[in-house]
Symmetry: D2
Subunit: 351 residues, 4 copies
Amino acid sequence: MAGSTFGERFKVTTFGESHGVAVGVIIDGVTPGIEIDESYIQVQMDRRKPGQSSVTTPRKEYDKINIVSGIFEGKTTGAPMSIILYNKDMRPEAYSDIKNSFRPGHADFTYLQKYGHRDHRGSGRASGRETASRVAAGAVARKSLEGRGVSVVAFTKAIGGITGETFDETIIEKNAVRAADPIAAEKMIQKVEALAAAGDSCGGIVECRIRGVVPGIGEPTFDKLDAELAKAMLSIGAVKGIEIGSGFAAAEMQGSEHNDQMDKNGFKTNHAGGIVGGISTGAEIVFRIAVKPTSSISVPQQTMNQAGEETEIVTIGRHDPCICPRIVPVVEAMACLVIEDHYKRQAALRA
Amino acid sequence: MAGSTFGERFKVTTFGESHGVAVGVIIDGVTPGIEIDESYIQVQMDRRKPGQSSVTTPRKEYDKINIVSGIFEGKTTGAPMSIILYNKDMRPEAYSDIKNSFRPGHADFTYLQKYGHRDHRGSGRASGRETASRVAAGAVARKSLEGRGVSVVAFTKAIGGITGETFDETIIEKNAVRAADPIAAEKMIQKVEALAAAGDSCGGIVECRIRGVVPGIGEPTFDKLDAELAKAMLSIGAVKGIEIGSGFAAAEMQGSEHNDQMDKNGFKTNHAGGIVGGISTGAEIVFRIAVKPTSSISVPQQTMNQAGEETEIVTIGRHDPCICPRIVPVVEAMACLVIEDHYKRQAALRA
Amino acid sequence: MAGSTFGERFKVTTFGESHGVAVGVIIDGVTPGIEIDESYIQVQMDRRKPGQSSVTTPRKEYDKINIVSGIFEGKTTGAPMSIILYNKDMRPEAYSDIKNSFRPGHADFTYLQKYGHRDHRGSGRASGRETASRVAAGAVARKSLEGRGVSVVAFTKAIGGITGETFDETIIEKNAVRAADPIAAEKMIQKVEALAAAGDSCGGIVECRIRGVVPGIGEPTFDKLDAELAKAMLSIGAVKGIEIGSGFAAAEMQGSEHNDQMDKNGFKTNHAGGIVGGISTGAEIVFRIAVKPTSSISVPQQTMNQAGEETEIVTIGRHDPCICPRIVPVVEAMACLVIEDHYKRQAALRA
Amino acid sequence: MAGSTFGERFKVTTFGESHGVAVGVIIDGVTPGIEIDESYIQVQMDRRKPGQSSVTTPRKEYDKINIVSGIFEGKTTGAPMSIILYNKDMRPEAYSDIKNSFRPGHADFTYLQKYGHRDHRGSGRASGRETASRVAAGAVARKSLEGRGVSVVAFTKAIGGITGETFDETIIEKNAVRAADPIAAEKMIQKVEALAAAGDSCGGIVECRIRGVVPGIGEPTFDKLDAELAKAMLSIGAVKGIEIGSGFAAAEMQGSEHNDQMDKNGFKTNHAGGIVGGISTGAEIVFRIAVKPTSSISVPQQTMNQAGEETEIVTIGRHDPCICPRIVPVVEAMACLVIEDHYKRQAALRA
């Protein structure tokens, strides 16, 4: 693969640049006969789209999906589903003044090095817009997983040092930062708004919980379920780390404390985060990701231009001061892709 | 893939169980004409092998490698290299008393669920012994990377809450825990020995630094270099998390602080950890992994047996109280596999 | 993969049904910096499109391509190219009377068995229309191969028992059957027109010649260059066989006759067809494919319907009496995909 | 992949050179719980091994297999099976006089071009000996397919122009050429013995019949069942062509004659060869392959040496005058690999 394809038996290929004609996705390997329509997918798109609140960018793409293939009479056919999102509100000219400079934190420099050229229009493939394709594909996986009794929920655990302590799933979609703790949510919003006003940004932590996965899902050795989740999450641009279950806290624990003992009701604890030996235990799968602060800020920064000269750059335009709330549906989508793919791999193994 | 293969153009497939006849590895896609011999590989094997010191298990496998194919007159031919390590000092009977019980922290339960049966002899494929195959393959990748000017060094950053602060690469192989800070090393060793005496274990953190990677290595979108490193690391049994560059600390940082600004000497900081947009920047690649405490402890633990009855289990036998020092060469090996593979992918892209 | 993706480093994924909204293709792994525009690709599309002459179906799709991504300022960027062809002149209602019957020679029965349902609108993915996506992708590969000095030419060798004996490359595009022998071409056209008048169809043989491939292209063992070409060709719906070089004639030859001996000018003969041990020799690569007679005929045929009842079927509508002339560009396209991919694999091997 | 791996969910990787230490195979994705032992596999090995009769080479390798992993208590575990065959009776010195010359019909020249060096000891990976690994893997697939009710039988259809007309499956293993027609078998044997006496060789045709495959197996578009079979067969060194069902005869047929009509008992004919649209129909799958005459002959031949000088070469040593009888089990093995893999893919699709 040349990087744009994910999965083996539920196989997703994305295409399109942020400021080109469209972005989109092909999904190959969808179970035939699943009822799904555009509105089901659109719900997920709307959770990712910009402009949802004071803490997200006002760029208005709407992310209206078009299913081009793979559905017949309201059901998946098993043929590759293709979904296209035409770009609107493109303003490539907004990027013309930065076309020769490397924006700090962006992939401008590395893309130039890799490809020998650079598409300066808003990051091209490296743009967060590419994740819209993933959310569309993830929605298809999610619909299939619903039939398997699997649910996937992510939320903002922390922003800029403010950490949620409680978990109320019902409020996640009701606050602008998608936190699960209403008191922390309020503080996070204030923090983000203050940073936005200052032209700065901040990072955070997103947690994901997957319920209902039967024991036995995940391949041993290299394609462990947690390894695949790790790859999926680190493939999201702003993510700098992942931990499963106890995660980095395990580094300070003892075996007698960390091991999940069992009684006849099952595991008494879940330090493993629902995965042991790369295979699901049947317990809730829990992981957290570290999200870096948005790179695009209006604070002046020192950088280089393509001529090798030092210069200063100020990113104007429309950007999220904290990307966590919009990463939540992307995290869920990628998790859905991994789980759905591994259900299919398990079916192949046992066939 | 069914889980035992890693990489696309430098492609590694491992096989063998901990208490079977042998473990081994096939490496396909090796650049032809590289000078390599068994002794070069054996050096790495000896770093991973058990019984190196008071803090590692006394099981004596020696891990003597046998190159079965792919070498002719001292050079790689381009044909698949195969390397076999015959198991010695096998004592499957040592496991007979636990054959029906699920050892806490081990993959006994999940393997049974996945496969519908269980090879109880020392964890089978889920055993740390499988990583010997990876170290052998990693040594081949390392030899090739040396020719590219790339070096890979890992070390124990922390054990059980004791964190190294200084970095002296020259001492890593000279202390039993493979730390880079001599004072912390001493404390770590004391801690591990105390836990070993108590029949318990502890976790830690391993850091890896990769130098000399040219800018432009790594595929965008799903096969980002950090995503592939994350998968590689989480595919190691005891690893519960990974962070690249600033990692989880980024969650508390602001964009103006986190962005790596440039001057004419290059990047002024390296919060990115050497990878932006999934592609190498040319700066040092830095990541850390969380290692859980060894699951095998002699403290009695509550568990279930296959008949569904509650029981108590005590893991006797030979196990590492802290796996960090032996994970160090495995981390390096997996990092070598990822980097070598991506050099080849980049060559294909630009061809 | 779930069947819609071809290639490893030059990776092509097609989507879309014959009577849906559109068909299209994603091409991942394109070398960056190649100059290409829509008109270059359109030339190939026009060679495949229906309605070119009296011997092809009058369905007017035009096959107008739209490049959606992967091109910036007239050059490939290295990002996935996506090309969409909107379907026009769709008449799904034309298929309503056959929606419950299995058309002989078509994939109606097997698709129903595989997926548990059936998209009866003109064969869906099994339609020849899917090959339009391949021709678009093949044109991109062809442009890259031109830069490598590789040319790919296919032509109709035989139709319905009439075999061309001479080879004049300049006339291929100038006769309706794309033969390379002008006298045979005339006879073939008469034959096809007579069959068309009778509502029947016929098969034929297409030959492909690839020049300029350097020695050393092709992977040994399973991914031999001829094995990959065979897969590529048999993946075209109407193809029932392939032979490389001497092909089936080799079955009657002796080693002393078949072996290609060498002198200082190179190989004295080319029974191998330019590939030995799965690797290119530098000689012209030559293969031939067997094309079955078009399944859609207006002669009444006996079949079953989905209710399990015997019935009779007459395929009305617009179909080619012999598909050879339109398969020629598809054969070339698939050959281009294979060769381009293997140039990239070789670059990775030797990197 | 770098060429040594075949299959997606039943994944086979071979390694080893003809005159090195050993050859072998890793099989990943085997269904757990299948009863299999070495003797079952050995039966197939013995069908491929040299020295079975007057028409095969007297080289005595025995091809004794060693199962190294993947079996526990007589059943497959689901872990990768590894099987090793140590080489015996190696005489690399027998090749020393040809080490600098390119043997006509062999891969000496192309391997040198590809890898920049050459392992002259009996063809290395390009040797027919590599197929021993395939037969071992194929036996494992065959055992699984038996449980699915699938049988795979191949036989020599023609040798040097002598074609069998009748089909008696019971005699295939009872004559030296593995023909299914006893009278033709006799003539074939005489022909091969005469050629052997003259130091020459001849080609032939092998037919394969697969029964019991349920309808619906095979992926559409690129991974069609016939496309995969074609790749599998052309990946066998001596194979120059394949035809499915009617094959090249289809080129001279009309649609009204070629289409397989149906009545309530199913298909009335089987020109399709059991596969339509790349998917199994449930009818017998039938294909034939063209086998070239063995390249190694003792007739003097003109060639080049590595210094670029013209020279003459005589292949002494132990070689088959016609490879058909020994290709029969290889064809069956590869067919088993394809079918087993696609059963698993279908399970994944419908999961």
